[in-house]
């Protein structure tokens, strides 16, 4: 069955450092890989996506890489700030299926 794995342990980093979150998947060939941010008690908010034929995508302090051979994406937040503390969800979408499937998310804490 399709499976998305994200590190279930929380990631604690110091302000100003780069946070790196990992997303691995199996039994799936996504056309797009997406990252969302979710704050406690709120709905997920879309951050950015990367296509299957792209290796890297950047948006302000965010960078995403996508390796379809390893079936892995890395999500980086550079110059992290306490306001970046949240849960980050990885999601996959295949244009033929209409459905977006999600990982369980990784909680990030950025200490001042």
């Amino acid at each position: 069955s399709q499976k998305i794995e994200q590190n279930s342990e929380a990631l604690n980093i110091q302000e100003g450092k780069t946070a790196t979150l990992t997303c691995n998947y199996t039994n799936y060939s996504p056309a797009y890989l997406q990252w969302y941010r979710q704050d406690p008690g709120r709905g997920p908010v879309f951050l950015l996506l990367i296509r299957e034929n792209e290796k890297e995508k950047r948006k302000e302090r965010l960078k995403v890489t996508f390796d379809t051979t390893l079936k892995q994406s890395l999500f980086h937040i550079t110059a992290s700030q306490p306001a970046d503390s949240a849960t980050y969800l990885c999601a996959l979408y295949n244009t033929g299926g209409f459905k977006t499937i999600f990982g369980a998310g990784t909680r990030l804490f950025v200490k001042a």
Partner: protein, 117 residues
């Protein structure tokens, strides 16, 4: 422009009771979805709709029914609530970019927290 609005935000039910969660979107999106989120399990798709008058089963549809009578509304019903349906429910929508061009980007509501005793 409110985006995706869910009502109610909180509800407590007794086992066997029924209820309906309402989702409304004002972005003219074609696709709408209902997910449930449980600790450690991520978001799981219950049902979805690719247009007015259409519905389809997702990953965990048992115990739920849905209707999409109007394009902007997607209703999730629980006919006989069970404690296993205690969860946070999220509605989401996405727009049609064109055949082969959809990216699956979702716009979420703020969630409805349901407790079944």
């Amino acid at each position: 422009n409110a985006g995706v609005t869910q009502t109610p935000k909180f509800r407590v039910l007794k086992t066997g009771q029924s209820m309906t969660l309402l989702c409304a979107q004002d972005m003219n999106h074609e696709y709408m979805y209902w997910y449930r989120q449980d600790p450690g399990m991520g978001l799981r798709l219950i049902h979805y709709s690719v247009g007015e008058g259409t519905t389809a089963k997702g990953e965990v549809p048992d115990g739920y029914n849905v209707s999409r009578l109007k394009k902007q509304n997607f209703l999730l019903g629980l006919e006989s609530a069970a404690p296993s349906q205690t969860s946070v429910y999220f509605c989401a929508s996405s727009y049609w970019r064109g055949r082969g061009s959809n990216t699956g980007e979702l716009f979420f509501g703020e969630g409805s927290r349901l407790t079944v005793l």
